[in-house]
């Protein structure tokens, strides 16, 4: 026992060198072993720092989508929290699409939830660029004033400090158009996303004791904003949108990046894009209708030119103020399912439209 303690506790030059060698070998091993294939095989909650870690959820969902077996059709949703909270679950959405298409087995459809809280439009575009080329499918991108108008400093931070492990090349393709900083790719997944992984040091513990269950909805069951809260927040939102909208160069660059990405999807892949304006509470219209109208006016000509639908489902889903926690996030399962039903019908129409590769029941 004393010999063991002597070995374990006494400092030695050889031990110091051994510690450094061990660390180098472990870092090299992480570079070799942590690959997108490995991440795709993990449970979704293993990477998550906590139940609300949407960056980890998006990372996992995207590598899973990229490796999904080919099915008769695929569905993907991309966007920020307003999109995440607009439908109940990607599986129930898939079931509803299958029902609308009269596909007897819903598992014949692949479905991917690529929404995440705070997802910038630039990140959404990088996600769209990362979609695999071959599966035939419909991808819905949430776009409105909340994402089209970006704060330049916040956006720059997203490129310098990514919150999800989106491919460097895809982020750089968007960064070039937006005038944002590009990163150098090492060609090694782990090192390309070092910031992502080092900010999640709990992964080995999760592997040992089990993954957390990611929380899908943050606003479920919450009360509506009080009158006081509306007074405090809605004008601040309007002022924020107006300030961001004045950065004409950045707004124009976003539109260029959007057009390039949609064109890429149409020419290089079999995904058919749909642009969806996220829900907006009727009560917010007096303050935010102008921002929404202005964003719509900027995107609509581009969408028309490319033949991409630009859709607002709020009226069709009969959304009322009671359905919302705040100005854009739905707060009840009933409202989410109601919206999801309309969304499924939209996706089904799009999938079964006049396209040679459209899904056939």
């Amino acid at each position: 026992m004393s010999a063991f303690l002597d070995g374990a506790l006494r400092p030695r030059l050889g031990v110091t060198l051994g510690v450094i060698a061990f660390a180098l070998v472990e870092i090299a091993a992480l570079g070799l072993l942590v690959t997108p294939d490995v991440v795709a095989h993990l449970e979704p909650g293993v990477l998550a720092r906590n139940v609300d870690d949407d960056g980890a959820a998006l990372t996992h969902a995207l590598v899973t989508a990229q490796r999904a077996p080919d099915r008769s059709a695929h569905i993907a949703l991309v966007g920020a929290s307003s999109m995440r909270e607009a439908f109940w679950h990607i599986d129930t959405l898939r079931d509803a699409v299958a029902g609308a298409l009269e596909v007897p087995d819903a598992s014949a459809l692949g479905a991917f939830d690529l929404t995440s809280g705070g997802q910038a439009l630039a990140e959404s575009l990088a996600v769209l660029r990362a979609l695999p080329e071959t599966p035939h499918g419909a991808v819905v991108l949430g776009i409105g004033p909340g994402t089209l108008y970006a704060d330049r400093a916040e956006l720059q931070a997203r490129f310098e400090h990514p919150t999800s492990a989106l491919a460097v090349d895809d982020m750089n393709a968007v960064a070039r158009v937006l005038g944002m900083p590009e990163r150098v790719s090492t060609g090694v997944y782990f090192f390309d996303h070092l910031q992502f992984f080092v900010s999640r040091p709990q992964v080995p513990v999760r592997l040992a004791v089990g993954a957390v269950a990611p929380r899908r909805h943050r606003y479920l069951g919450r009360v509506q904003w009080t009158d006081e809260r509306w007074g405090e927040r809605v004008d601040a939102l309007r002022v924020g949108f107006e300030r961001r909208a004045r950065d004409n160069a950045l707004v124009s660059a976003h539109l260029v990046a959007l057009e390039q990405t949609l064109t890429h999807l149409q020419r290089q892949t079999q995904w058919r894009p749909i642009l969806l304006e996220p829900p907006l509470a009727p009560r917010a219209l007096p303050a935010l209708a102008e921002a929404r109208r202005a964003a719509h006016a900027l995107v609509a000509p581009l969408a028309a030119r490319l033949g991409v639908p630009l859709v607002d489902l709020d009226a069709e889903a009969a959304l009322v103020d009671e359905d919302f926690h705040d100005y854009t996030h739905l707060r009840s399962e009933e409202a989410m399912r109601r919206y999801e039903k309309r969304l499924a019908a939209l996706v089904a129409r799009h999938l079964s439209g006049p396209n040679p590769s459209a899904v056939r029941p």
């Binding site: 026992m1 010999a3 063991f4 303690l5 002597d6 070995g7 374990a8 506790l9 030695r12 050889g14 031990v15 051994g18 510690v19 450094i20 060698a21 061990f22 660390a23 472990e26 870092i27 720092r49 609300d52 870690d53 949407d54 960056g55 995440s116 809280g117 705070g118 931070a157 310098e160 400090h161 919150t163 070092l194 910031q195 992502f196 080092v198 900010s199 999640r200 040091p201 943050r218 927040r233 926690h325 705040d326 100005y327 996030h329």
Partner: protein, 45 residues
């Protein structure tokens, strides 16, 4: 019964593994702090 030589070698190996692991964690933490690595935090509305 393990010989003293083997016991000492096991102790050294344990020390290398524990300190090596701590070094990796420390390096990761230093990199995260210096690079300003972020996890998106829900701030609420």
């Amino acid at each position: 019964m393990t010989s003293p030589r083997v016991a000492r070698a096991l102790g050294i190996a344990l020390q290398i593994i524990v300190l090596g692991q701590l070094l990796v964690i420390a390096l990761g933490g230093l990199y995260a702090a210096s690079a300003g690595a972020r996890v998106f935090r829900y701030a609420g509305f």
